[in-house]
């Protein structure tokens, strides 16, 4: 059930009306029922996968929490009788016991994710190696990916690690935990919420709040407008441009970089707007996932502002634990003693590359995503290592730093650099992507920009104008929203303005949204991850 479908509209309207009719203490139960129905629409068999994850994580978290409480009670009772060394050794033994439970559950759930998502990718690569030696081929396995598996696996295992680290208490109610795992607005494309954040409002009683509902509705409609007016309109010329790469090289590749950046932003942030807005209409607060990423001045900043919850998940649950692990700390000591300043960075850069490799793999089972991930890591590492050079440059030209013009140069540089890496998403393989990027230099034909060629990519001048106006509106709202979101500003003026904004967005989406025979609005780009 896509967010951009009549089916979802009917489902959400019915749930919304019921939500504010039933006694408030039962609202979370209705949300759970709604989430399971929403998930059932993707296929009843998907419920088995999410059910296994929900039950195993919930029970393991309870076990770890109970163990921790019992260990703590024993520790406090015997604290005075133990020496410092004995206390440390006892804590290490206790932690090791809890870690075994954690590890077993993580292996099970990441094992399920690995099998359903990567089996055919591994088989394909094994077959490629076998073909080199003229050996027989392994048959591909027929396997359908359960909806949202990457997202709910990360969200629930993040919770489990938080319980293990004693950052949050275990949720004792299986029903309430199942709601955390399946909460339908964020099930298919995130954000990847933390239990400590989402649980604050997920299980509470929510009375009717016209102001919150108006703001949520406006955000849902804004998300739909971005998706249907901009993202889906730009998908048409993009399909043409990437399906015949030989025909569309040179300056067309710059167009792919630019258009895909706008399309993906409109599609993904549009989906997240619907998620956060729908949750807000139900009184639930979901974490923000974007903060104007295209205004970033370097790659590291970009990744702090794009798909934030994924970035922080990898940072907290993979990068930091890996960086302070014994092997990495030993590597740090060896490199520091041998190579000096750069040596101190070797261990961190090693962890960064592993992190970005895993981030690439998480995005999809293909070499395109793996290379995409590694390139992001390399750009960030190179940028960190060049900092002394930047410092020298700014010492030579002190007036540049912080100036409007230099900021703009940095923003544009980051936009195009990240965009060039991002097109690995859209071309069919890695060599083709690099050939296409190379053709920008070798086959640059700027005349296609004004000879009408862009009017033959599947949409006419009117559609280009609508897409440009939509993109412009996104840019203006983004700029205006730096201090306060536009919808809150409208509400500050008058509630009528806020509702007027809703009506305007509905009308604009109905008039300018991309519909019609042969058009498929069922899939958001990030659903596939």
């Amino acid at each position: 059930m896509s967010f951009a479908s009549t089916q979802f509209l009917v489902f959400f309207a019915a749930l919304f009306l019921l939500y504010y009719t039933i006694p408030q203490r039962h609202q979370w139960k209705l949300l759970l029922a709604g989430s399971l129905i929403f998930y059932w629409f993707a296929g009843w068999w998907c419920l088995i996968y999410i059910g296994v994850t929900t039950v195993t994580v919930c029970l393991t978290a309870r076990k770890i929490d109970s163990l921790a409480q019992a260990q703590e009670a024993w520790f406090q009772a015997h604290r005075d009788t133990l020496s410092k060394e004995e206390r440390k050794a006892q804590k290490a033994r206790d932690k090791s016991l809890r870690f075994r439970w954690l590890l077993a559950c993580l292996l099970l759930n990441f094992g399920i994710l690995a099998v359903v998502k990567y089996t055919n990718f591994v088989l394909g690569n094994v077959n490629a190696v076998l073909a080199l030696f003229g050996s027989g081929q392994l048959p591909a396995v027929s396997m359908v990916l359960p909806m949202g598996i990457s997202f709910y696996t990360f969200q629930t295992t993040g919770y489990l690690i938080d319980v293990y680290w004693r950052k949050v208490p275990a949720q004792r109610s299986l029903g309430k935990f199942a709601l955390f795992a399946t909460f339908f607005p964020q099930l298919i494309q995130g954000p990847i919420s933390r239990y400590g954040d989402l649980s604050r409002t997920l299980y509470g009683e929510h009375p009717w709040n016209a102001q919150q509902i108006a703001m949520g509705a406006e955000r849902v409609l804004w998300g739909l407008a971005k998706k249907l007016i901009v993202a889906d309109r730009l998908a048409i010329p993009l399909r043409t441009l990437v399906s015949s790469p030989e025909e569309y090289s040179g300056v067309y590749v710059l167009a792919v970089i630019f258009l895909y950046a706008v399309q993906l932003y409109a599609d993904f942030t549009g989906g997240i707007d619907i998620t956060i807005g729908a949750a807000q209409m139900l009184g639930v607060q979901v974490t923000e996932n974007f903060v104007r990423p295209f205004f970033s001045k370097n790659a590291a900043e970009y990744w702090r502002r794009w798909h934030i919850t994924m970035g922080t998940w990898f940072r907290d649950y993979l990068f930091y634990p890996m960086s302070v692990s014994k092997p990495i700390l030993k590597l740090h000591q060896r490199c520091r003693n041998r190579f000096g300043r750069f040596g101190k960075h070797v261990s961190v850069h090693t962890c960064s590359l592993i992190l970005w490799f895993v981030t690439g793999v998480w995005h999809g089972a293909s070499w395109n995503f793996i290379v995409w991930g590694l390139l992001n890591g390399i750009v960030i590492i190179v940028s960190q290592e060049m900092e002394p050079l930047y410092d020298k440059f700014h010492a030579r030209f002190p007036s540049l730093k912080g100036s409007w013009g230099w900021d703009l140069v940095q923003v544009l540089r980051t936009f195009w650099l990240m965009g060039a890496i991002r097109v690995l998403d859209v071309y069919r393989d890695v060599p083709l992507t690099f050939r296409q990027l190379g053709s920008v230099v070798t086959g640059f034909r700027p005349q296609v920009l004004w000879d009408g060629s862009f009017l033959e990519l599947g949409i006419g001048a009117g559609d280009w104008l609508v897409a440009a106006a939509g993109g412009g509106a996104m840019l203006v709202c983004s700029l205006l929203g730096r201090r306060k979101p536009v919808r809150e500003r409208l509400l500050d003026h008058s509630p009528h303005l806020a509702w007027g904004g809703c009506v305007l967005l509905v009308l604009l989406t109905l008039i300018f949204g991309v519909y019609g025979i042969g058009f498929d609005a069922t899939q958001f780009i990030y659903n596939q991850f």
Partner: protein
Amino acid sequence: MEELLSILREIHPDVDFETCTTLIDDQILDSIDIVTLVAEIGDAFDVEVPPEALVPENFNSAKALWAMIQQLDEG
């Protein structure tokens, strides 16, 4: 505490660690600094900093870092 301050000053000579309480919030310490710091703290004070201790509250100031080290050392 003085040993910790000298470790911090070696990483960022330009920062006044005795007064600054926003080392993470203001992005003065980045990921490289944090991992370097954990390794140096481990060497100097013979403590293991677990991943769950890598939170802004523990790294925002030298005072908070010192409190974390003492807590880890106590067991």
